[in-house]
């Protein structure tokens, strides 16, 4: 058995053989990336747009100009939208969303990156579907009813404040009455300040409880080399399909399973190679501190590799998370695999400037 190698701060020790390196390359996580296209074409986080409305989208696109103020796509950019949600946006009621959550959760991602050296554009397009997502607050009856109860209390107090202590003041007779946010007369009311703190605590508790909620998701993304940023004359580079499912166990655990199939064109012999990866996992703990077991097996035309590991994830600060794993990884050769230990520190600093 190989001696364990300790990895610090995300630096991975180099594989000792070509087979071991291949095993590392093939160990593609089955978890669906948040934006499938960005997984295939790596785009700087600051170049990614995530507009929630057409207004945000047009504002962001208005920044895509050259020195003469003509429209020009940047060398590197990405976009992710929920198109149906964005199209319906202002006219989307809570009950509409609850009746068709899969439709409104559907997301498209696209990424373009132009090489400085040869002018080739890497373009990728991705689609993500979430038929089941118990962590989605809009489609969860407990979240909706809980927060509605708090908002009803805020509303009642605010109405009493605005329409006068006797509850009767017509806007015609109310000085400075305007359509819009009620403002300080309600926002600074002590009872409403307290209720807003309760609302924040409710939202935070919901977010903390979402880590192990049940989900079913699948996604697809394709990557091509193109002659321009609009994807003309595309040449296939790779395509990936994902499926993942998670089942919650009370408030303390979660089972996960997933499958990933990747087809990739070899740049040397121009042959397409297909890799399939499947895995299962179990997690227990809380949002900030959890232990887990994960296992994966990956297979392509030439080799099958596998891994199994125990690990822990722990919250340090809002910007730093730690991960510790100890596990076994096969190399796809005749040896018995190797023991790998890894300690990494992840950061969560906001990089994207929203429009």
């Amino acid at each position: 058995m190989n001696a364990p190698r300790v990895v610090l701060v995300g630096i991975l020790c180099a594989a000792s053989s070509a087979a071991a390196q291949n095993a590392q390359d093939m160990a593609v996580r089955y978890a669906i990336p948040a934006s499938p296209a960005f997984k295939l074409v790596s785009v700087n986080e600051t170049a990614i747009l995530r507009p929630a409305s057409f207004q945000q989208l047009t504002t962001a696109l208005s920044n895509f100009t050259d020195k003469k103020q003509a429209f020009q796509l940047p060398r590197e950019w990405g976009i992710e939208v929920a198109p149906v949600f964005m199209a319906k946006g202002r006219h989307l009621s809570a009950s509409d969303y609850q009746q068709h959550p899969t439709l409104y959760r559907f997301r498209i991602s696209a990424a373009v990156k132009r090489s400085e050296s040869n002018g080739v554009n890497d373009v990728a397009l991705g689609f993500r579907f979430s038929p089941v997502d118990k962590s989605d607050p809009r489609s969860n009856p407990d979240y909706v009813s809980g927060i509605t109860a708090l908002l009803t209390r805020v509303n009642q107090i605010c109405v009493a404040r605005v329409t006068g202590p006797d509850g009767s003041r017509n806007p015609e007779l109310r000085p400075n009455a305007t359509v819009g946010p009620v403002g300080a007369v309600c926002d600074n009311d002590p009872a409403i300040v307290t209720l807003n703190k309760q609302i924040k605590a409710f939202k935070d508790a919901w977010a903390d409880s979402s880590w192990n909620k049940s989900q079913v998701q699948f996604a697809f993304a394709a990557h091509a080399h193109a002659s321009d940023s609009l994807g003309r004359d595309p040449e296939f580079a790779s395509a990936v399909g994902w499926f993942s499912a998670a089942k919650s166990i009370g408030t303390w655990g979660q089972f996960t399973g997933g499958l990933n199939v990747t087809a990739k064109r070899d740049t040397l012999d121009r042959q397409n190679r297909t890799t399939a990866t499947g895995g299962v996992g179990f997690y227990t703990g809380s949002s900030k501190y959890k232990a887990f077991f994960e296992s994966e097996i990956a297979r392509d035309d030439t080799v099958t590799v596998g891994s199994a590991k125990l690990g822990a994830e722990f919250f340090l600060t809002e910007q730093f998370w730690g991960h510790l794993t100890v596990g076994w990884q096969s190399t796809g050769t005749d040896d018995k695999g190797r023991l790998v230990t890894r300690l990494t520190l992840s950061t969560n600093f906001p990089l994207k400037v929203t429009p």
Partner: protein, 122 residues
């Protein structure tokens, strides 16, 4: 103040309160008498958990509403990580939308209450 014109001899008037972006929320719908602090109907208190019950017939014949003020206080809370909101007060007659009084914006606050109102006139 915005004015919503309607037909004196048309059918009853209906008021509807809406919240966009799928946000949950609560509202109070008020119908004021003309130039008075008296109310023409009991306040309607509702929420957006079921949009089927966010339609309200304004009591009485259409002509009686001339000069009255229809008002809605709408309180919404975008989920964590979101800021945009949209709320609207819509008045209809004979299945025709007469006018929509709306307001949209973004907020960092946990909840926001918006005042929407308009005068009804023939």
């Amino acid at each position: 103040m915005e004015t919503i014109q309607f037909k004196r001899d048309g059918g009853p008037l209906f008021a509807e309160v809406r919240s966009g972006f799928g946000h949950p929320g609560s509202y109070t719908l008020i119908l004021w008498e003309k130039a008075s602090n008296a109310k023409a109907m009991q306040d309607k208190v509702g929420n957006f958990m079921n949009t089927n019950d966010d339609w309200y017939e304004l009591p009485g014949k259409a002509a009686e509403h001339d000069g009255r003020i229809v008002e809605a206080f709408v309180t919404v809370a975008p989920p964590r990580g979101e800021k945009e909101y949209f709320v609207a007060l819509r008045v209809s007659q004979d299945d025709i939308l007469l006018r929509e009084i709306s307001f949209s914006g973004s907020t960092d606050m946990q909840s926001i209450t918006i005042d929407l109102f308009a005068r009804l006139a023939v």
